[in-house]
């Protein structure tokens, strides 16, 4: 039983990370029907933004008060990258055939990875992420379960972000504008909503959450590298599809489910096909199975098929 609960906690931690990134995919897809393939890279850049903030401003500090600044740095950098990306690369292609933005996204993805690898000092190999008091350090025991402090930070940030996001979407003018645009961009435009700005906000929201996820990943893993966005992005996309792409709560649920499935697969699949070498295979197999049997995902908001 302890084993199960331990894996459940591990799964929830992993899943929270996926969920934070997955929201970015789903928000953008819900509004412009675009798979922002480069979103994983935004997450990676967020982590590097936090690291840069720490290195430049607070090098050597480990106090908890540094953390908000690091999060702020991460969010600023990733939002900036995402907004520039939207403005420069995606907006001109808004009415192009669907293949064009997808290929652009792959191009951006490779470009961002390489830019970080080449130009961030020392990023050619993995860089250590700063240790912060209270959120990293010795794990503590609850019953028979080992709880890592960073896990609590990851899960906590998902909860906070989800609440803030809910408030933003349902209670602010901008959030309702987003809902309107996702339902019908043309009518929304006629109603006086600035669709371009809404799309930019969607990118920014996704990027902000990805930036926070970047910090969380850094704390959790204690080092970051330029390649970490690829797999995380792919998993998060899987999570978004799993939950029902276009549905924000779906992304959260999908992320948690995917994380738990992965954690359980490591522990409970018997024989040589279990264990951590195969966990990614099971995650992607889950993606394929979901797409085949329930392409609308768990939460089921089927987006109009525009392919």
């Amino acid at each position: 039983m302890d084993l199960f609960l331990q894996q459940l906690l591990n799964g929830l931690t992993l899943g929270s990370l996926y969920a934070l990134i997955a929201v970015g995919y789903t928000v953008v897809y819900g509004i412009v029907q675009l798979i922002n393939f480069a979103h994983g890279e935004v997450f990676m850049i967020g982590a590097f933004g936090a690291l840069a903030t720490w290195t430049v401003l607070f090098k050597g500090q480990t106090g908890l008060w540094v953390l908000p600044f690091m999060v702020l740095g991460a969010v600023l950098v990733s939002v900036l990258v995402a907004v520039v990306m939207e403005r420069v690369a995606y907006r001109p292609l808004r009415h192009a055939p669907r293949l064009a933005p997808l290929i652009t996204a792959i191009g951006i993805s490779v470009f961002l990875q390489e830019a970080v690898r080449l130009w961030y000092p020392g990023a050619k190999s993995a860089l250590p992420f700063p240790q912060i008091d209270l959120v990293t350090g010795a794990a503590f025991q609850v019953g028979g379960i080992t709880v890592r402090r960073s896990a609590l930070f990851v899960i906590g940030s998902l909860v906070v972000c989800a609440v803030v996001l809910w408030f933003f979407i349902n209670r602010t003018k901008m959030g309702r504008g987003m809902l309107a645009v996702s339902q019908d961009p043309d009518t929304a435009r006629l109603m006086g909503i600035n669709v371009d700005r809404i799309i930019m906000v969607a990118f920014a929201i996704g990027a902000a959450l990805a930036g926070i996820a970047g910090v969380a990943q850094g704390l959790q893993n204690s080092n970051i590298d330029f390649y970490m966005g690829f797999l995380a992005g792919l998993k998060a996309f899987t999570a978004a599809v799993l939950g029902g792409i276009g549905n924000i709560y779906g992304a959260v649920v999908g992320g948690l489910v995917l994380g738990i499935v992965e954690a359980m697969a490591v522990q409970f699949i018997p024989g040589t096909f279990g264990g951590s070498p195969w966990k990614d295979v099971w995650a992607f197999a889950l993606l394929i199975i979901v797409l085949v049997f329930r392409p609308q995902g768990i939460m089921g908001a089927r987006v109009v098929d525009r392919a």
Partner: protein
């Protein structure tokens, strides 16, 4: 492209046929200076730029400027009203402008190289400055030159022997240029050659030559296909047994062959496959596992032709397994599912080492020591002599791959013009409309997917032997992205485009070692810029170009016209 069809209101007024204008003389002076300067010495130091020190005996780099000058003179003569037939076809003013700009950029770079590598500007001889002044005059003169009226190339007809002659000459130029470019060891000279080449190509394109060549190419499709094949076949003979370039050429060919297979899936059927490299990998792994390698874990060792068929079949069965459920979902989902499949493939072959699952693929180390191919007594590992020219190991594989490429190209073109190909295009354009018209959407999609996988498996089975080993890290997502980029760069749905794209993507990094670290960065940027400014690719099919530029009525008219032309080959002759 658009200006080819631009007609000025009064054709006579804009061509200075009677008295050459001031600008004409200026450009003439420029070209003469450019040619004369090229015969002079450019630098004191023989060590740089392939020795440009000798007066009266131009080095290759100087021959390039002479070529630019001669082309300029030719275009100037056109403006005098000579060669009446051709002058209606070419817009000499735009061509001259591009030539002038190219020459200036080229010479500025040469001066820079002298200043940096010699080092010091003092090492530059007057010759290079004479040329620079000439190039500047060309730009100045051609800047305000009025455009020529040109006619639509589709209505210009030469005797067919002349058209074929043009094609043959072009092919010979391509062969010569490729052999020369590959022979360059010096990165600077190679870059300058590329600049020269692209400048001349742009100039000729500005002048409208390629529009016309495109039309003759369309008219003499068989000749051009045969010619291209002959040129590719002759290429190893120009290398004189050197393995360095043949190894690059073989890699280009494997890459191009795979890209051609992917082109059927993406370019024709419009199914975005981001895991295509997995099918190549499946073929390579099957082939390696059935080879005589010490690490091969399958006991049965059939002859290679059987292995090829098995490898291709395994690939296409994988294609069916992954395709049959997922082809019902829409485009974006398919892209992600194939991406996930590609990752599953890589992780699986990485894991199957005996500790995690059965020992099939030898895990991360892959299967080394895959033996050379043998057809009867012909061993691919040995060198052979033909007409006194030595052909090395890579040349043997090159010829084999050439045959495979020819096979795939044949399949591609036959499919493209068949009922199936039209079905695919219909699906690509509008799936629902196609279904309503009675196209078997699901069947055709599945066929494209499995067929593409079959071709990739075939290429993979040869790749395993040519590379001598297979490892999981050869089949990562980035390779799939590269394949896709080759197609996008070259032009979706055209054979020539894919070949151009594959060559550019594989050849440039090999030759530009000094920018090797920035290779991927440039690649990413290139994809973004291509999609932004020329989404139809370098060598687009007319139909495809139209898809991306729906408002361009002139292009629409042209595509329509060329279709009519194709249907009635004798129609439209004046």
């Amino acid at each position: 492209m658009s200006t080819q069809l631009r007609r000025s209101p009064d054709p006579k007024a804009s061509v200075d046929s009677a008295a050459p204008s001031m600008q004409w003389w200026l450009v003439l002076a420029g070209t003469v200076l450019l040619i004369a300067g090229s015969f002079l010495s450019w630098s004191f130091t023989p060590a740089i730029l392939g020795n440009v020190t000798i007066t009266g005996l131009p080095a290759p780099l100087q021959i390039f400027t002479i070529v630019i000058g001669v082309l300029g003179l030719f275009l100037l003569l056109l403006r005098m009203g000579r060669f009446h037939h051709i002058s209606t076809l070419l817009d000499s003013a735009r061509g001259l402008r591009a030539l002038g700009v190219t020459a200036t950029a080229y010479l500025v770079l040469v001066v820079l190289v002298i200043a940096l590598q010699a080092p010091g500007l003092a090492n530059a001889d007057p010759g290079v400055f004479v040329c620079l002044v000439g190039a500047g005059l060309m730009v100045a003169g051609s800047l305000r030159m009025p455009s020529d009226p040109t006619v639509d190339p589709i209505s210009v007809h030469l005797p067919s022997w002349a058209e074929i002659l043009v094609i043959v000459a072009l092919m010979a130029l391509v062969l010569f240029g490729a052999a020369y470019a590959l022979g360059q060891e010096d990165g600077t000279v190679f870059s300058l050659f590329l600049l020269f080449l692209s400048g001349v190509v742009v100039a000729l394109q500005r002048a409208g030559l390629f529009g016309w060549i495109g039309v003759i190419a369309a008219r003499n499709r068989r000749v051009i296909t045969l010619g291209a094949f002959v040129v590719a076949f002759l290429f190893p003979l120009t290398q004189d047994g050197s393995d360095a370039n043949m190894s690059i050429a073989t890699q280009v060919l494997i890459f191009a062959t795979t890209a051609l297979g992917l082109n059927i899936v993406v370019g024709l059927a419009g199914l975005l496959d981001l895991g295509y490299i997995a099918f190549l990998g499946a073929g390579a792994y099957v082939s390696a596992m059935m080879s005589h390698s010490a690490f091969a874990n399958i006991g049965w060792k059939p002859p290679f032709l059987v292995v090829v068929l098995i490898a291709a079949t395994v690939s296409s069965v994988l294609g069916l397994i992954i395709g049959s459920p997922t082809l019902r979902v829409s485009g974006d989902y398919l892209a992600i599912v194939t991406l996930a499949f590609g990752e599953i493939f890589r992780l699986t072959v990485n894991n199957l080492d005996g500790n995690n699952g059965p020992d099939l693929t030898n895990g991360p180390n892959g299967i080394p020591g895959v033996p050379e191919l043998e057809f009867g007594s012909f061993k691919f590992g040995d060198t052979h002599e033909i007409f006194g020219i030595t052909l090395g190991r890579f040349a043997n594989y090159y010829f084999l791959l050439l045959v495979v490429a020819a096979l795939i190209i044949t399949i591609f073109t036959r499919l493209n013009n068949s009922r199936i190909g039209r079905g695919w295009i219909a699906i690509r354009e509008d799936e629902k409309a196609a279904e309503a018209m009675g196209v078997n959407v699901f069947g055709l999609k599945l066929f494209a997917f499995a067929g593409g996988a079959f071709l990739a498996g075939m290429a993979g089975s040869i790749k395993a032997h040519q590379d001598v080993s297979v490892t999981p890290d050869q089949y990562i997502f980035l390779e799939s992205a590269f394949l896709l980029a080759a197609i996008v760069l070259g032009g979706m749905g055209t054979v020539a485009g894919v070949l151009v794209g594959a060559t550019v993507l594989k050849l440039l990094p090999e030759k530009l070692r000094f920018v090797a670290d920035y290779r991927l960065l440039t690649f990413g940027l290139l994809l973004v810029l291509m999609m932004r400014f020329r989404p139809e690719g370098l060598v687009p099919s007319g139909r495809r170009a139209l898809e991306f530029h729906e408002d361009d009525e002139r292009l629409a008219a042209k595509v329509e016209e060329s279709h009519i032309e194709k249907v009635t080959p004798t129609g439209g002759r004046t």
